[in-house]
Structures are given as structure tokens and as C-alpha cells.
Symmetry: C2
Subunit: 205 residues, 2 copies
């Protein structure tokens, strides 16, 4: 006689996302299988019917986060036809998202995390940056430009979440300074290309 399903994979992931954000990944409260089970109303062993193990649960939470981030970035960039304004809007949207879900954002961008995220989710999350980078820097430099922007953006937001900006000053202003600097640098790349070279390239080794 089959017993009825008392929870679902989605409910488990949602509970996990919530717990991650409120209790952290590891701490003494932390994202434990026990805590997730309590939230969804089953005993811990039942979770293993829906999820291979805790590692997979964490990966699913990370994937959901990447998808949501991608949707936000798309929406922010779509509203701005001018690529410079679109880049600024996208960057601000990423920063807002990170402030809403600091722990999940941190998880996704943790260097050694070794979640293997769904390539499709990742592609979706980076599509807008790549498109804008191509518009700003030209097709030849699109990938390099996108990597420069993404690195700066992830780095800035990650440092802000870590409290790494300890020297005072206005962090909002530093963020806008970064946007303006990158926009300027990438735009110049395009100008260089179109025949008006400026002596800005640093000698490489």
C-alpha cells in the first residue's frame, strides 16, 4: 500500500534556499538535512528519496540562484537600448540581487565550491553581458570584454559581501566609478579598432 507523497523536490529546494539565507551554509544552525526535513514536514531520511545527498541539494539551490540572477540581469539590460546604460543597469541589478540573497550569491561565486552548475543556467546568466560587451567593444573583443566586466562585477560584489572594503570611502561611488571606467575602457577598444588608436595599451611583459 503506497503512502502518499508528503513533500516534493521543489519544496525541499525552496526550504533549502530559505534556510541557506537565514541560517548560513555551515554554521551551528546551518543548512542541515535535519533542518530541511523539519521545514518540509518529513524525517531526514525521507529527503534521500528526492535528492541524492546534501551536496546535490546545495547544487540545486545554487542552480536556482543562478537562474534567478540570469532573469534579473536580462530584465535589467532589456530596458536600456544604449549599451553603456544597459551595462550600468545590469551591474546594478547584479549588486541588488547579491544584497537580497547574500549567502546564495556567495555560494555561487565561491572559488572552490565545485557545484557543477547546469551549463544552460550559466549560459542564460551570462548572455546579456556578452551581448552588451559585443556592442561596446566590437565582436572581436566581445568575449574578452565580457570576461573583464564579469570578473570586475563578481569581484566587487563578492568583496562587498565579505566586508573587504575596509578603508572607508564611499563604496557606492567606487561601484559607479568601476562601471564608468569599464565602460570607457571597452568603448575605447572599439575606437582603437576603428582606426583612432590611443596609447592606452600597457606593454605586455
Amino acid at each position: 500500500m503506497p503512502t502518499p507523497e508528503r513533500t516534493s523536490r521543489d519544496a525541499i529546494v525552496d526550504a533549502g534556499r530559505d534556510l541557506l539565507e537565514t541560517q548560513g551554509l555551515e554554521g551551528l544552525r546551518g543548512l542541515t538535512m535535519q533542518a530541511v526535513a523539519d521545514r518540509v514536514g518529513v524525517r531526514a531520511p525521507s529527503l534521500y528519496k528526492r535528492v541524492r545527498n546534501r551536496r546535490e541539494l546545495v547544487a540545486l539551490i545554487a542552480d536556482a540562484t543562478v537562474r534567478e540572477l540570469g532573469a534579473r540581469l536580462d530584465a535589467a539590460a532589456a530596458g536600456e537600448p544604449d549599451p553603456r546604460r544597459a551595462l550600468a543597469a545590469l551591474a546594478r541589478a547584479a549588486r541588488s540581487f547579491a544584497r537580497e540573497r547574500p549567502v546564495a550569491f556567495g555560494l555561487v561565486f565561491t572559488p572552490g565550491a565545485d557545484l557543477d552548475l547546469d551549463p544552460e543556467s550559466l549560459a542564460r546568466a551570462s548572455a546579456a553581458v556578452i551581448r552588451i560587451a559585443a556592442e561596446l567593444a566590437g565582436d572581436d573583443h566581445a568575449l574578452d570584454a565580457a570576461r573583464t566586466v564579469t570578473a570586475w562585477l563578481n569581484g566587487f560584489v563578492g568583496m562587498e559581501l565579505s566586508g573587504a572594503f575596509r578603508l572607508g570611502g564611499d563604496v557606492d561611488r567606487a561601484f559607479e566609478f568601476g562601471i564608468a571606467s569599464l565602460t570607457g575602457a571597452l568603448t575605447l577598444r572599439r575606437r582603437e579598432e576603428s582606426g583612432a588608436p590611443l596609447a592606452i595599451s600597457v606593454s605586455e611583459h
Copy 2:
């Protein structure tokens, strides 16, 4: 009758650094108190005479890593009088260090890690970037410029360690592209200031 000391705080931290790099922070092998104790030749409870708890041990490992990074950055930048070349050398040194100690580097730059690193170690590690940023962008923009460079550099290296550059292309080239772009952008800031404005600033908001 006092028993002789069979280990030291330094030996514990060194063993911890080694284990962290070879076994990872958490995994099944992982940085466990048991594994550290085995390495230094005592039983796990004895570690608590030298270190408050595992959390403190991890923080000490992170601090040692930051100090070593700082020394490397200083050395790399000191060899180059031209600030543009100095910035490039510093960036490459940071990337090399991250490749030598990927796990420790990742730990230090993990967004939610909540190690509270020694402010002195951090100041030492960021001094060279700030000095170079001031030379490139002028004193008024030094802090913003340093934050832009540091964010890009940490972001790039972190993404590289995560395997986040999945779209092919030449990652080395993207790194050099980033160095050149940032150097150009910050240098332009200075030119703008000195009375030769270029229409590169993005409209803010």
C-alpha cells in the same frame, strides 16, 4: 611533572595549510582536526591547547595566506618603476599565487567566509595596489581605482579557479586584455582630470 611540548602553533598552522591545499577544506578527506593532529604527531584534543577551535585554525591559515600574498605583490610591484608595468606585474603575481595555492586563495576570497583577517595583514596586501592606483589615476581617484583593480583581479582569478570561463577562448589573453583595459581606463581618469576630457564617462542613472 610537566610533559614536553610535542608540537607548536606554527607547526599546526603549517600542517593545516598543507592539508588544506592537498585535501580541501571540507571534503571527505578534508581539513579535519584529526588529520592535523596526525600530521603534527599528537592526538586531536591536544590541538586545543594551541588553537581555540577549528574555526580559529582556518582563520590562522587564511591570515598566513594573506601575508604571503602581500609579500609576493610587493615584490612584483617593486621591480617596476612604471606604474602601468607595475600594475601588470602585480596582477600576474596574484594570478600565479592563486595557481600555486588555489584552495587557500579561494578560502581567503570566499564571500561569506567570515574569517576575520588581521587588518594589518590586509593593509599590507593592498598597499601596493593602492600606491599604483594613485600613480595611475591621481590621488583623488586612488581608492576608487584601487577598488576597481582589486575587484577585477579577485573576480578574474576566482572565476578562473572555479572553472567559470566555460566559453573557450584564450583565458590568458582575456587576463591581459583586462590588465590593458583597466590600465587604460584609470590613466584616462587622470587625463580627464588634467583638463583633456574624453567622452567616456557613462551617464549615471
